[in-house]
Every structure is written in C-alpha cells, then in structure tokens.
Amino acid sequence: MNLLYNVPAFSILLPMLAGVICLVLPARASRRLSNTVIVVLALLSFLLLNSFLDGAPTFTYRMGHYGAPIGNEIRAGELESAMAMMFLVVMMLSLMGGRNHLRSDIGRSKVNLYYISVLFLLSSMLALTYTNDLFTAYVFVEINTVTACGIIISKEDGYTLAASMRYLIMSLLGSGLFLIGICLVYGLTGHLLMPNIQEAVNQLVQNGHYQAPLQVTIALFAVGLALKSALWPFHSWLPDAHSSASAASSAILSGLVLKSFIFLMIKIFFRTVGPDVMTGHAILNLLLVFGVLGMLLGSVNALFEKDIKRMLAFSSVSQIGYIFCGIGLGTIAGVSAALVQVVVHAVTKAMLFIAAGGLMDASGGRKDFDALQGAGKRDIVAGAAFVVGTMSMIGLPFFAGFITKLTLVTAAAGTHDWRTYVSLAAIVVSTILTAIYYIRVLSLLFGRNGSEEQDGEVRGRRFLSAYLRRHLSMDTEYILAILAFIGINLWIGLRSDDLVDIINAGLATFQ
C-alpha cells in the first residue's frame, strides 16, 4: 500500500512530464509515449482501486512541504480511483478509435502537439478527480479549458476556430465565476483546503454570520461549473465544439471533459460546502429544473438536426441533463445515480462519436444524413456500435443505459414530492424523443445505399471477410476500440452491481 500512496500524484505529474517530452518527439513516438503513459496509469489506478476495495482506508497526500492549512492536498478513495480509471480507459479507447482521423485532420507534423494537449488534458482531469483543495482545482480547471480548446482547434478549419472561440469565451466565464467563488470562500473562511472550509462553513451556518455571501458563493460554484459542464441553458457552446472537432477529440470532450467538471461540482458540494448545508438547498432544485429542461430540450434540438455529429452533441446535452437531475434530487441515491450516468454516458457517447467517425469515413468524409445512407452496411463495425449505442440510449435491459434509468428512477421515487413526478415525466418523454432520433438514424444507416448500388455486392459470410480484409490491417486499433466499447457497455449492463457498489461505497467515504 505504501507505494500505491503515490499513484494519485504520479497520475497528475506523469502525463505533464510526458507532454513536455512530446514537444521534441515525432508523431509516432509521441503517440507511443502517450499510449504507454495512459496504460501504465490505468494499471496503477486499477491497483489502487483494488486496494480500496480490499479495505484500505482513504488517504490524503500532501503535495510539497506545506501542510494544512496552507498546502496543496490530494485525496484518494474508491470513488476517485474508480473515476480515474474510467477517464484513463475511455481516453485510451478514444485515442485508439480516432487515430486515423488524427492523421488526416491534423497533419503529420503537428500530431505531437495534439498529444501534448491530450496529455495535459488528461493530467488536469485526473487532478480534478483527486484534488482536495480549491487552489489546485482552479489551476487545473484552467489547464483543462485551454487544452480542451487545443484538441478542438488542432483540426484547422473555420468551424473549429469559431467553435473553440465560443467555447473559450463561455468556459472562461465559467472559470471566472468559479474563481470569484473561491475568492469569496477564502474571504469568508480563510482556508483553501476542502475539509477545513467545510468546518468553517458549518460554523458560519451555526453562528448565522455571512449567510448571504455564503449563498452567493454556493451559487457561483454551481453556475460556474454548470457553464463548463454544458448544463442547459449554458450549453450553447457544446454543439459547435463537439461536432466540428476530430472524432477522437469529440469523444474525449463529450465523454470525459464534461464529466471532470461534474465530478468537481459533486466534490465541492460534498466536501467543501458539506452535506449539512447542501441538503435541501435551493440551488439543488434549480439544478434539477435545469437538468430536466436539458433532458427535454436537448432531445428536441437533436430531433431537428440533419448532421450526425451535431445530433450526438445535442444528445449529450440531454444526457448531461440526466446527471444534473440526479444531483438535483438532493439525496445520496440521486448522486449515486448521477455518477452511474457519468460512467455510462462516457462509455456510450465516446463509442458513438468514434463510430460516427467511421461512418463518415465510409461516406466520403461527409457527415450529413444524405451522405450517410447505408453507411452502417459499408462500415459494419460502426453500424454495430451504433446499434448498441441506440439500445443503450433507449434503455433496453442488457445495455448500460438501462442501469442509469433504473438507478435514476429509483432515486426519484425516493423523494416523495414534486421532484418525483417532474423527474419521471422528463425521463419518459426524453426516452421517447431519444428513441425517435436514434432509431431514425439507425434506419438511415441500414437502409438503402442511395444511388450508389454496388454491383455484385458480396453477401453473408463473404461480406464479413471482405470487410475484415479491407480494414483489419489499416484500422485494427479502430475495430478493437469499438469492440472494447461494446464489451464495456454490455459488461455494465449485465454486471452493473460491480459498478453501483463501487460508487455507493465510494460515496459513503467521500467526505
């Protein structure tokens, strides 16, 4: 266990170091370095998670030589290490799946710069997962913002430029609000370490001092991070950013970046402000209402899209709404359901974006629905991934999406007031809307081939082997990534108890 104490710090520093080294490496070497770093960290996080599951207590780790109350601290427990593992695995698979697009979208000479951004992004996400003080949180929030822009704009065309400008502006607004919140908290409590702040806040509430500034602080934290996690109505940057970026970048942005901020928000509610103050707080009701509106309006917007990546982006807005609906319920069961959806959405949406990349490849690089007719038959692995993704989004048992519906509805049923009815109505309506736009795309993908009927189309077994012969050598990583995503989705759907137990155990020791 002693050596494992270093894993969180290692997880944050190693990618940064590797990123700096990538500056001087050519494309292939930087890709290999990045993959190695991610695999090594994934293994270490797995060992760390195992040690917690075997009963090791959570620990805090002091960075540098300054102790509380002025130093930087990170803290690790089941939940943090499970989230870290999720980030690492999904990032690995996204990079594998989108590799070919990196070559074509970015240009060989600049691929190493892309990997620098990715590694720093990874480091910032892991830091946000493990951090135990607000100062570290702010620093890595900013690194996250900049590097996320980096991975969007690495594909140089007008769309990404406009999208990342918009993202940057709105995201920096969010960071700014977050920073003001930190300044206010520091002014009110004199601390930056989360447990210390919680003690001070509890005292303030008991004494009845500074109630208005405290409420403003909580609101600032919530809104600032909500802006960065694309909660409705702060989501307007998301469709452009996620749809214009390269396939791997879209997968990472939709699947991981949003989640790191959500996790930070949960951490702040639990550890900085504390459950005593947060339970029954009005901001949670606001998050619930916005979450519900996001669930409905995200889906409504997705219905009208004619471009597959924009449709997936709006679908993300809707699914993020589920997460905030869970948080807004204000119970442990609600937060647990939100975290389940964090994992499930990361896995499913990353898979869908990678598959969308494959479908675009099979349709001459175009992403509008007219060009994608029959693409599911041309790239059968992507088609299969889309089928699995659709079933998961609709929430059929066997697939991961069913588990999030199960946990969210059970959590909603536990609050016996208006929140139950609003959440349930929203879940029902958004499910049907989600089914509509996903199944519409599916029937498009597996429909007729449009005007280009292939002569002598090989059928049956010969079709599969012809496909494999054509693609296996070039796109091995892509095929493996998609199969791995499908496998994870089914694993969560079939053996969800493992995931849910880890999350619940982690939440129990989260403060």
Binding site: P397, K405, T410, G414, H416, L424, I427, A435, D497
Partner: protein
C-alpha cells in the same frame, strides 16, 4: 406453490432474467404458436405476391421468438425486455413494402410502442422498489410495510403502466398506430399484428395488474374506474370509426381497437367471470380477426381491391372466401353458436355481477351497441358481396378464387370458429379455473 423460475442471468443482484411456464403463460404461448403456424402456412403461398421474402420471414420468426420469451417470462424485467424486442422485431414487418406510407406507419407504430413501453418501465422500477419479490405471484407482490403512505403514487404508476402496455393493445389514446400500420403491412403480418401482438399487450396488462400490483390493491379505486371508462370509450370509438372507414384493412384495424378493448374491459372489472370472459375473447378474437385479415388478404391477392365499396358482387367470384368472411362476421358480432358469443356473454355477466356502478349496467349496454355497430360494418360487405342487386354489372376481370392453400387456411379458421363456438363451454370452464387460481 409455484416451481422456481429458471434464471438465465442476473442483471443486478435483485433483477434477473428468468423464465417460468405457468398455465397462463403456456396458454398464451399455445395461442401464439397456433396462430403463427396457420398464418405462416398462408404466408408461404401469399409470398408470391411480394418481394424481399427472406427479410419478411426472418422478422416474422424473430417476432415469434420474442413472443415465446414474453409468455414464459417469470418476472417484470424479463417481460419488459422481450416486449421491447418484440416491438423492434415487428417494425420491419410493417415497413416491409418500403413505401412512404409504410415508412410513416412503421415510425408511428415504433414510437407509440416505445412510449407505452417506457410507461410500463416506470411500473417495473416502482414495483422493484416496493415489492417483496420480483417474480410474478398471483395476488401481487407489493410489500404492505413499504408501500404505506405511498399508495396514491403507486396507484398512479399502476394506471400509467397499464395505459402504456395498453398502447400495444390499442387502448385509447395510444391506439392511433393500429389503423396506420394495418393497411400497409402485408396481409399475413396484419393478421398476426391484430391477432397476437395486440394480445401481447393484453398479456402484459394481466401480469401487471394481477401478478404484480394485485387486484385487491386496485379494486374500487379511481384507477379501476378510469380504466373501465377508457375501455368503454375505446370500444365505442373503435366501432364508430370502423363503421365510417372505407378501406377494408383499416376498417378491420379499427375493429381490432374496439374488440381488444372488450378484453381489457373484462380484465379491468377485476372479478373471475369477467376475467374468464376476457381470456376466452382473446382466443376467439385471435381466430376471428386472423380469419378476417386473411380473407382480406385473399381478396387483395386476387383482385387488388382495397375499398369496401369495390367488393360488390365479389361473392360470385370468391364464394368460399366471402363465405368464411360471413362466418367470421357472425362470430365477431357475437351471434351464437359461433365463437364470440360465449365470451361476450361472460363479459357482460362479469360486468353485471361486479356491482361497480354505473359501469355494471353501462358496460353491457356499450357491448350491445358495439355489437350492433360491428354488424353494421361487417355484414354489408357480405351482403353486397353475395347480393349486389339486379342493377349490378360486374366490371373488371373474373380472376377467380384465391389459391387453395390460402383458402384452406381461411376455411380452417372458419371451421375453428364454428367448432370452438359450439364447444366453448369446456374452454370457458378452463379459463374460470385459471381465474380461480389467480384471484386468491
């Protein structure tokens, strides 16, 4: 005591995918298999009329597989899974001929069904949270201690879940997919859609009401009254719409909307006689409606005529088909000794004995009015077919009777109508005994 279910796999430690063959499930399974076989034999000859048969038969069989899973499901989540899969497998049947109308009808079917299934899913989650066991147990599985204080919420959920599964059974207001889907689907597909797949919705409703929430929990509540009101509304509305409709298959589709609500009405009265009448009507309606749709298929195959008015004088050309159609019409209207009379009688008896005013007398009145409307929308077809009037001159070529296999199946169903109508009493007794085991 029931035997233990066969657990295929565990989704979570309390939700499992499990199967059990109890009497109700086996009865439904037998009906599905028999109808599928009969219509399958018909389809083997009908397929000469259509293209892409490989695809058609593939989904035809897949839907049957899902129905098997549905009837043998031992708990709510298994039933829900197979219900959704059955919807997904039957959509290509509606979509089969690829026209724009088929495409929009298939979408309508899909979305109404998924919406309904999602409402049913809510039922699953609440039962899961408030029950003692996730299995189907006669009398319900609600844990009295857990539900204390939450009865109204659970009643609302029960209401929504049944309305959701009712979408598949054509219950107002989610019935609109039926008249859209039937005319565009190939005739064998329409037959099984009306004859068996709507009954899958009925089956799920039986499981939800009697084996999960329990009849006692819902008896004499606003939920029961609302259900009965909606069923009566659907019966009347379906019959009236059928009466006005000119396209034959759409008319039969509205007839299904009306007739399946007879079954639901019987289920909603929550007593043994009505329940037995409902189950008997499941059997009778499957045979009658399959027969009607297959006769329509014969007509379509031979003459390509779709509208009722064009069928004048058809009796000269297709006497056997139209004769069977006459038998099915008599049965559907509820005229003894054909199949259809005994089930309606039992339904009315169950309604009258339920003591639930004003539905106790309103329901038999509605059943009577609906029977007259049924006669009104079915008999003229037969009468004008055989007796077109002296002024009628036949236009169009005389293409003769439909092929032997197809007429044979329709004839077999007509024979079944007569036989099961004459010997309906033992079947009714079987269902009454079954009801006795369910109403504890």
């Amino acid at each position: 005591m029931q035997e233990a279910p066969f657990v295929l796999l565990m989704l979570t430690d309390s939700l499992t995918l499990a199967f059990r063959a109890d009497v109700l499930g086996l009865a439904f399974l037998t009906l599905a298999l028999l109808m599928w076989t009969a219509v399958g034999i018909y389809a083997l000859r009908y397929k000469d009329h259509q293209e892409n048969n490989g695809r058609f038969f593939a989904f035809y069989l897949l839907t049957l597989v899902m129905l098997v899973g549905l009837s043998l499901a031992a708990n709510y989540v298994t039933m829900y899974l197979f219900f959704e899969m059955m919807t997904l497998c039957s959509v290509p049947l509606v979509l089969h001929n690829g026209s724009a109308e088929a495409s929009s009808a298939a979408k309508k079917y899909l979305f109404y069904s998924i919406f309904g299934a999602t409402l049913g899913l809510l039922g699953l989650f609440f039962i899961h949270a408030y029950s003692i066991s996730s299995d189907f147990l006669p009398g319900g599985v609600l844990d009295a201690a857990k539900i204390a204080g939450n009865e109204e919420m659970l009643r609302t959920i029960a209401f929504l879940a049944v309305m959701g599964f009712g979408a598949k059974a054509g219950l107002f207001p989610l019935h609109a997919w039926l008249p859209a889907a039937h005319p565009v689907a190939p005739s064998p597909a329409s037959a099984v859609l009306s004859g068996v797949i709507t009954k899958a919705g009925v089956f799920c409703i039986i499981r939800v009401i009697y084996f999960q929430f329990g009849a006692a929990f819902l008896r004499d509540t606003w939920v029961q009254r609302s259900w009965i009101a909606v069923a009566l509304l659907t019966i009347l509305m379906g019959s009236l719409m059928a009466f006005r409709e000119k396209r034959l298959k759409t008319r039969l589709a509205y007839s299904t909307v009306s007739q399946v609500s007879y079954i639901l009405l019987g289920l909603f009265f929550l007593n043994e006689a009505a329940f037995a009448g409902a189950l008997l009507h499941v059997l009778y309606h499957s045979i009658l409606k399959d027969g009607l749709f297959l006769s329509a298929g014969n007509i379509l195959y031979q003459t390509h005529l779709e509208n009722v008015e064009e069928l004048k004088g058809l009796g000269r050309q297709m006497p056997r088909t139209l004769g069977c159609f006459a038998i099915f019409s008599l049965g559907l209207t509820g005229i003894p000794p054909f199949a259809g009379f005994l089930s309606k009688w039992e339904l009315a008896a169950g309604a009258l004995s339920s003591g639930l005013l004003p539905y106790a007398w309103l329901a038999p009145a509605v059943l009577l009015i609906s029977a007259m409307l049924t006669a009104g929308y079915l008999f003229p077809i037969v009468i004008h077919g055989f007796f077109p009037g002296r002024a009628y001159r036949s236009e169009g070529p005389d293409t003769g009777e439909a092929p032997v296999a197809m007429v044979g199946v329709v004839g077999a169903l007509a024979a079944a109508t007569v036989v099961l109508g004459l010997f309906g009493a033992p079947i009714l007794k079987f269902f009454l005994d079954l009801a006795g085991t369910i109403f504890l």
